[in-house]
């Protein structure tokens, strides 16, 4: 295995696990299966510890070990996961994340101030560990009584019994060393989970000295292992070599004399519970481990596990019965969590695929037009079928980029929790439409603006508990995130039942700041939008959460960069809803194509109002006057051909495309109208970054490149130029 790849996997996995840990910690108050939550928190920490151990990141191993120990005690019921501990664990999670981020080569480089944080955290965790020691002692006393009979209760109660040892038999594959794995590190790491009571090296596979390959591994180990770890944990130790070794882990609770017999029989007929299940194809190994893990935690589950395993060990029950039982549980579990099966794919690969499909569409269009030229019926039909299929492939490829917004939303639980605590407010976060899908790039870019909006809602929106009481509102404030699709766009709402916008105050402040003139008459929407102006803030005091008047400006700009819009609905003392409207994807727009000379241009379809013929009635020539009478309205227009210095192609009938963008309305005079066109936007690259009036390009079916016009900047440019020309002319005439 390539270590660099493995390391990347470790980084990606760690951040996922930490996120999962945070989700579980935050949701702990309202979980239906608390034991499972604790288990998955434990698993997260444990897996990070294990992986870090493999990479020799001792600092992470050391810290996670402490966290893990505390969690293990929670799991065994030594104490409950209370509010205080959840907070502490959240901090630990942040710290582990920080450690993983600061991995530099083979070591973790932490700043000195972070190390103090670590010391504080470890001390806080230590408090829990110390109390545990006394309970462990009492647990030991309890076991003495239970020792006499091999009952279910023994197994549940504790792991400290001397004869409760695991037996692990591991035979490494011959290629283990070549794959960059050292069997010793796994055994060394195994020792961190418990203590190796006895280890026997099996050298039967060693060939004679002349046949021996120094780079091959011929060794196997039989290990008598004492640990409170679960089976899945022990198995995780060998995760990196799982494909490369024969691993058998036998659970404890067999009498020592029987134990060895059991190993033999199991090794001979290869009958392990997991294997039966995997063979039946009903469960994967991992699901099975999760189930075992879950059962172990749930009290009644303990018996299940025992029965399940002992039954198979003794070879008594038919495998179908066990399988069926586990299968049923697995289904119930699935239905509950609705965990989607996912495959992690490199985003680059996906982009490459989409590019290729774009080319395929173009090539397919070429084939179809060629086929039409031949006039052969069958060929045309086949070409058409192919084109249709290619279109479908393109649709589904674009769908691959679509991601549910839920994950982004869930991150805000933590934000709301932390910020509201800091401000002494009691706030609940509600989430709706978490399964709404939108383009991955959009999701990435929207999470920052959302963060600003949510913080704003908490800080400025929700009133202090005293004020809420005065206004007859429940003490707990509500912030709601909602997402839904609406006519080809996605709408994301951030709403709160807080104080709402005080429009009078905003207007006063805006006038004082000189943002608007005192006489200006503004609509409600316009006043609301003032909060998005740069440097605008009505907050008297700047807190470290918000109030500097920078955030909202950034929000607006980020959203505009995504070709989105923002609306605000707000009622004073009742609440505010901020509605962000975004295009579903950044990659494709509905365009309107037109031709000037021999070049094609595209404008977004939704800004096109209408198209009219520029006929002699409009009575315009090239005499410099460039406006027409559009049903009594004055419509200025731009001759794109003149503007872009396009020569030739003087069409007999020119057309005007009427564009409306915000308050701007103008006409573009073009030679030919080509109609609607599904436009895949391609960036033009850094060379053309500063070209005004052009926002991108697209590739036509013929393989030609067409430019996408940025109508508003084009119009602004013409306005500026005209203004300059007029003032220059005025100067000239003044001189004469």
């Amino acid at each position: 295995m390539n270590m660099e790849q493995a390391f990347q996997t470790f980084l990606a996995e760690s951040s996922e696990l930490l996120q999962d840990m945070e989700d579980k910690l935050l949701g702990f108050d309202s979980c239906d299966d608390c034991a499972e939550s604790v288990n998955s928190i434990f698993r997260a920490v444990h897996t990070i510890k294990g992986s870090a151990g493999l990479f020799g990141l001792d600092e992470i191993v050391a810290f996670t070990h402490v966290v893990e120990s505390v969690l293990d005690d929670v799991r065994s019921g030594s104490f409950v996961l209370d509010e205080q501990l959840i907070n502490l664990l959240l901090q630990c999670k942040d710290y582990i994340g920080k450690m993983v981020d600061s991995i530099d080569g083979e070591a973790v480089l932490m700043a000195p101030e972070d190390l103090t944080v670590q010391a504080v955290l470890e001390q806080a965790l230590g408090v829990y560990l110390n109390t545990e020691h006394s309970t462990a002692a009492t647990a030991l006393v309890g076991i003495d009584d239970a020792d006499t009979y091999q009952s279910v209760s023994v197994i549940e109660s504790d792991s400290a019994m001397a004869n409760e040892n695991w037996h692990i038999s591991v035979y490494f594959g011959t290629d283990v060393l070549r794959n960059g794995m050292d069997p010793l590190s796994f055994i060394r790491y195994l020792a961190t989970l418990g203590s190796i009571v006895h280890i026997e090296t099996v050298t039967d596979a060693l060939p004679g000295i002349e046949d021996m390959d120094a780079e091959s591994c011929y060794l196997g180990y039989e290990i008598n292992f004492h640990s409170s770890a679960s089976k899945s944990q022990i198995e995780e130790v060998f995760e990196f070599v799982r494909e490369d070794c024969q691993l058998k882990i036998l659970p404890p609770y067999a009498k020592v004399s029987e134990f060895i017999d059991v190993i033999d029989t199991i090794q001979n007929d290869e009958l392990r519970l997991g294997e039966i299940l995997v063979r039946c194809g009903t469960l994967t190994q991992r699901e099975l481990d999760n189930l075992l893990e879950m059962q172990h935690a749930v009290k009644e589950g303990g018996t299940h596990r025992l029965i399940g395993e002992i039954v198979v060990e003794d070879g008594l029950a038919s495998s179908e019965v066990v399988t069926a039982a586990l299968h049923k549980q697995a289904q119930g579990k699935k239905a509950k969590e609705k965990q989607a099966q996912t495959v992690r794919v490199d985003a680059e690969k996906l982009d490459h695929l989409i590019n290729l499909i774009g080319e395929l569409v173009i090539a397919g269009a070429g084939v179809e037009s060629e086929a039409h030229l031949t006039g052969i019926g069958n060929l045309m039909e086949s070409a058409q079928t192919m084109t249709r299929l290619v279109e479908e492939v393109r649709e589904s490829a674009l769908n691959l980029r679509m991601v549910q917004i839920g994950e982004t939303f869930n991150r805000f639980f933590r934000v709301v929790r932390d910020v509201s605590k800091e401000l002494g407010k009691d706030i609940d976060l509600h989430i709706d439409g978490a399964d709404t899908e939108l383009d991955k790039t959009v999701i990435e870019k929207i999470s920052d603006p959302l963060m600003h909006l949510v913080r704003n809602s908490i800080d400025h929106g929700i009133e202090s508990p005293a004020l809420r009481a005065q206004r007859n509102k429940p003490a707990t404030g509500n912030v709601k995130l909602n997402a839904y699709h609406e006519s080809g766009t996605i709408v994301i709402e951030v709403s709160d039942d807080g104080g709402g916008l005080n429009r009078e105050k905003i207007l006063q402040k805006a006038i004082a700041n000189g943002l608007v003139s005192a006489e200006a008459e503004l609509s409600v929407q316009d006043i609301n939008k003032l909060i998005f102006e740069a440097g605008f803030s009505t907050a008297e005091a700047i807190s470290n959460i918000s109030g500097r008047g920078v955030g909202m400006d950034v929000v607006r700009r980020n959203i505009e960069a995504l070709r989105g819009t923002v609306e605000i609905d707000s009622e004073y003392t009742v609440g505010t809803t901020i509605r962000i409207r975004l295009p579903l994807t950044l990659a494709i727009i509905d365009g309107f194509m037109m031709k000037v000379g021999d070049a094609f241009y595209v404008v977004p379809l939704d800004i096109v109002e209408e198209c009219i013929e520029l006929n002699t009635n409009h009575n315009v020539g090239h005499d410099g006057r460039s406006y027409i009478n559009l049903r009594g309205e004055v419509l200025p227009f731009i001759r794109l051909g003149d503007y872009f210095s396009k020569t030739g192609g003087s069409a007999k009938r020119e057309n005007i495309v009427v564009i409306k963008y915000g308050s701007l309305k103008a006409g573009f005079v073009v030679d030919e109208l080509m109609g609607e066109f599904q436009t895949v936007i391609k960036p033009l690259g850094p060379l053309f970054e500063r070209v005004p009036g052009i926002s991108g390009s697209t590739i036509l079916g013929s393989g030609e490149v067409a430019l996408i016009l940025d109508a508003s900047s084009l119009i602004h440019l013409v306005m500026q130029r005209d203004g300059k020309a007029i003032s220059a002319a005025a100067k000239q005439s003044a001189l004469h």
Partner: protein, 184 residues
Amino acid sequence: MTNLVKAEPASVKHALVKQKVREEESQYLTFLLDKEMFAIGILSIKEIIEYGQVTTVPMMPNFVRGVINLRGQVVPVIDLQARFGRPSSVVGKRSCVVIIEIQLSAEQEQHVIGVIVDSVSEVLAIPPAQIERAPQFGAKIRPDFISGMGKVDDKFVIILNVDKVLSVDELSALTERVDEERHD
């Protein structure tokens, strides 16, 4: 497991790779621009395609011919002659677009740019010993565009410094100036 990795004779391998790079570095693609021969190091060249279907981008200086569709990627095309301050290339039967990859710095991503040449000649190996320094003047091209003068059959071939000739920063700054000039 780290000791195993260390055991590999990394230094030997490294030296081999280096040697190979040097060999490739001394290979150049030669081409003609108005009967004059130029060369570009082969490592920066991605491919050579026939000239065709160039979409002009408005309001660009004359050395930017426009953009082409290179298998789904939109690539700008530069007229080298115009870039050197000479009259624009006339597109003929043998005109080609040489697609070049340039990397400005380690952090920045690669840019792909096409240049128009009158015709492509051949790939030549010019050993470093056969490369003279660029003349201070007389080549009628900005000295910093030339990375060296290669001696081939007693004639000189101008080896271009692609990073300078196609510097994206400089090109886009120039496009901006053109725009200002137009509107002033």
